[in-house]
Amino acid sequence: MSSKALKQPPALRTFSTIFVVFWLVIAAFPFLWTLWGSFKVELDFFSKADWRNALTGARTFVEYGTAFTDNGYEGAWVQEEFWRSVLNTAIVCISVVTISLTLGTLGGYALSRSSFRYTFWLLIAALIFRAMPPITLVSGYLLPFFEWNLWGKLPTTIVVLVAINQPFTLWMLHSFFQKIPKELDESAKVDGCSQFQAFRRVIIPVMWPGVITTGLFSFLLAYNDFAVTSMLLSTDNQTMVPKIASFLGTTQTEGNVMFAVAAVVSATVPLFILVMFFQRQIVSGLTQGAVKG
C-alpha cells in the first residue's frame, strides 16, 4: 500500500483508525468478556444480582477466596474429557478439508474449462442443493444410517459434511479457476499432455492461494457445524460444538454453564493459532481467487 494513490489525508486517516478500533471493540468485546468471565463462578458470570459482579467476581471471592478460579476449565477438560471432542474435531476438520478440496478442485476445474450449457445448469443445481436446510437432510439420513450401521461414526459425518459443503466449494473454486488463464493448460495440451496431466503439471502449482481460501471456509463449516454433528455422532464421538451444547443442560438436566464457557474459550484458541498462521495465505488466496458472481 505504498502507492501514492492510497495515501490518505490525515483527517481521513484518523477517522478510519477510529472506525477500525470501534469495529474491533464490537467484534472482540463479547469474547474478551467471555474470557474474563470464564474464570468466575456461574452466579458471577450471569451476574443476575448485580452486573458488576461479573467484573469483580464477588461470589467467586466468597467461594474461593480469590476473584479467579480455573474450575470451569478443570471441569471441562478433566472431568468431562473435553480433549476427546477436540481430538474428534481435529479428525473431522482435517478430513473434511482434504476430501472436499480434492473433490472440489477436480469438479471446479472441469466446470471452468467446459463451455457447454450443462455446466451452467450444474452450477445452478449446486446452488439449489445448497438451499436445502441441513436439519431436513439430517433427519432423512437417520433411518438409512441406522439400518446400515453407519450411524454415530466419524467417517459417516465426514462424508456428509463434505457432501453438504460441495456446492459452496464448487462455486468458489469454479470462479477461482476461471481467473487462471486457459492458455496455460491449452499450451500444455498442445505439448502432448492429456487434460489430467495438464491439470497436474500446470494448474496445481498455481492454484494454491484459491484452494487455501476455500479450505478456510470448509474448515469453518466443519468446525462450527452443529446440525449434522449433534444428530449423527454418538456421545463418544462428539465434536466440540455438540459437546459444548450438552454442557448447557436441558429441561430435565442441570447444565454446567461454566464448563461450557471454559470450553467456548478453549475452542477459540486453535482458531486463533490457525488464523495467525495462515492469515497471509488466506488474504493472498482470496486475492487471486477473486470469486465472481
Binding site: 469438479g107 475452542a267 477459540t268 458472481g293
Partner: protein, 341 residues
C-alpha cells in the same frame, strides 16, 4: 473440454452431491406429498405407578395392516402445502372475505404462523444482507489502510464473530444483553430507562436479532472484499488521481466496479443464508417474537410426535423461496454465461 473428460473430473463431486443431497431431496418432495395413514383408535386400560385409567390408544394391528398395504401412506397432494401450518389457503380466503379493510386482513394474516415467519424472515434478509455488505466493505477499506504489522491481529479479531459457531456466538450475546447483563445495563443507562429489556419486546428482539445477524456476517463480506482490494489496479487509481478525482470518486469509479463481482457473490451466499436464519432464534430463545421457516422445520422435528410431512413441506417451500430470492442474480449469471459462450 470433452464430455468424457468432463465426466471423469466431475464424477466424484457429483456422486457426493447426488447421494447426500439429491436423493434426500427427492425423498423430501415425496414425503411432502404423502401423509401417514389414518390411525385406528381403541380404548385401552393403562396402568402406571400412579394408578390405572381408561384412555385412547392406537389399534396397532389395524393400523399396521393399513401401512402394509400402502407403505408410502395416504396421497395428500398439495394438502399439506395448503394447510394452516403452511400456506393456509382456506384461512387466507376466510380472512379476505371477513375482513372489512386491508388493515384487518393483514392482521388476520399476521396471526398465521407461515406468514408471520415470512414477515420476519424477509425483513431480516433484506436488512441484514445489505447492512453486512456495507459494513464489511467499510471495514475492508479501513483495514487496508492500516500499517501492515497491525493487519494480522486486526484480521483475526475481525474474523471472530464469523468463526465462532453461531450457536455459541448467539449464546454469549444472549447472556450479555440480559437486562442485568453488561450490555443490557449499558442500554438501560444510555436510554435512562431502568425497565428496558430487549428480550421482552417483539420490536427490540427483532432489532437484536438483526444486529446479531450483521455482526455475525459482516466478517465474511470483509474477508472477501479485503482480498479483492489487494488486486486493485494501481495504475488506474493513480491515473484517476492525476485526473483530479477525489477520494470518494476513486472509491465510486474505481474500487466499487472492481469488486462488483465479489459483491454479487457475497450477496448470493448471504441472501440464501439469511433466508434460512435459524441458530440465532434458538440461541436467543426468541421464538416467542420471531420465527423462520428453518425454525418451523426444527419445531416439527423436535416434538414428541414428529411431523415429517410438515417438515418436508416447509423444506420444499424454503428451497422455492431461495430460488425466487436468487432469481435476479441467476438471470444475470445466465446472461454472463451466454455472453462468455
Amino acid at each position: 473440454m470433452k464430455h468424457k473428460t468432463f465426466f471423469w473430473f466431475f464424477l466424484p463431486t457429483a456422486v457426493a452431491m447426488l447421494l447426500f443431497i439429491a436423493m434426500p431431496l427427492v425423498s423430501v418432495v415425496m414425503q411432502s406429498l404423502f401423509t401417514p395413514h389414518e390411525q385406528v383408535f381403541k380404548i385401552v386400560e393403562t396402568c402406571d405407578p400412579f394408578g390405572c385409567k381408561q384412555s385412547t390408544g392406537i389399534d396397532l394391528e389395524a393400523t399396521n395392516s393399513l401401512r402394509a398395504e400402502k407403505p408410502l401412506g395416504r396421497f395428500a397432494g398439495l394438502n399439506i402445502y395448503l394447510d394452516r401450518g403452511h400456506l393456509a389457503s382456506s384461512e387466507v380466503a376466510a380472512a379476505w372475505l371477513k375482513s372489512d379493510g386491508i388493515g384487518a386482513f393483514f392482521n388476520a394474516i399476521g396471526n398465521l404462523p407461515f406468514y408471520r415467519a415470512m414477515a420476519f424472515t424477509l425483513t431480516f434478509t433484506f436488512l441484514v444482507t445489505p447492512l453486512a455488505i456495507i459494513l464489511g466493505f467499510v471495514i475492508a477499506v479501513s483495514v487496508n489502510s492500516l500499517h501492515r504489522h497491525l493487519k494480522g491481529l486486526v484480521i483475526f479479531f475481525s474474523l471472530l464473530p464469523m468463526i465462532v459457531s453461531p450457536l455459541i456466538g448467539s449464546l454469549v450475546l444472549f447472556w450479555m444483553i440480559d437486562s442485568r447483563g453488561i450490555l443490557g445495563n449499558a442500554l438501560q443507562w444510555l436510554f435512562q430507562d431502568p425497565d428496558l429489556s430487549l428480550k421482552a419486546s417483539t420490536g427490540l428482539t427483532w432489532v437484536m436479532l438483526m444486529v446479531y445477524g450483521v455482526w455475525h456476517t459482516a466478517p465474511f463480506a470483509f474477508v472477501v472484499f479485503y482480498a479483492g482490494l489487494q488486486t486493485l489496479p494501481q495504475d488506474t487509481l493513480e491515473s484517476s488521481m492525476i485526473d483530479g478525482a477525489s477520494r470518494w470518486q476513486q472509491i465510486k469509479y474505481v474500487v466499487i466496479p472492481h469488486i462488483m463481482p465479489l459483491v454479487t457473490f457475497v450477496a448470493l451466499i448471504q441472501l440464501m443464508d439469511n433466508f434460512r436464519v435459524f441458530e440465532p432464534i434458538v440461541g436467543f430463545n426468541a421464538s416467542a417474537h420471531a420465527t423462520s421457516l428453518s425454525w418451523f422445520i426444527f419445531n416439527d422435528l423436535a416434538g414428541e410426535t414428529r411431523l415429517l410431512s410438515s417438515a418436508s413441506t416447509t423444506s420444499v417451500l424454503t428451497i422455492l423461496g431461495v430460488c425466487i430470492l436468487l432469481s435476479p442474480v441467476l438471470v444475470r449469471t445466465w446472461r454472463d454465461f451466454n455472453r462468455k459462450v
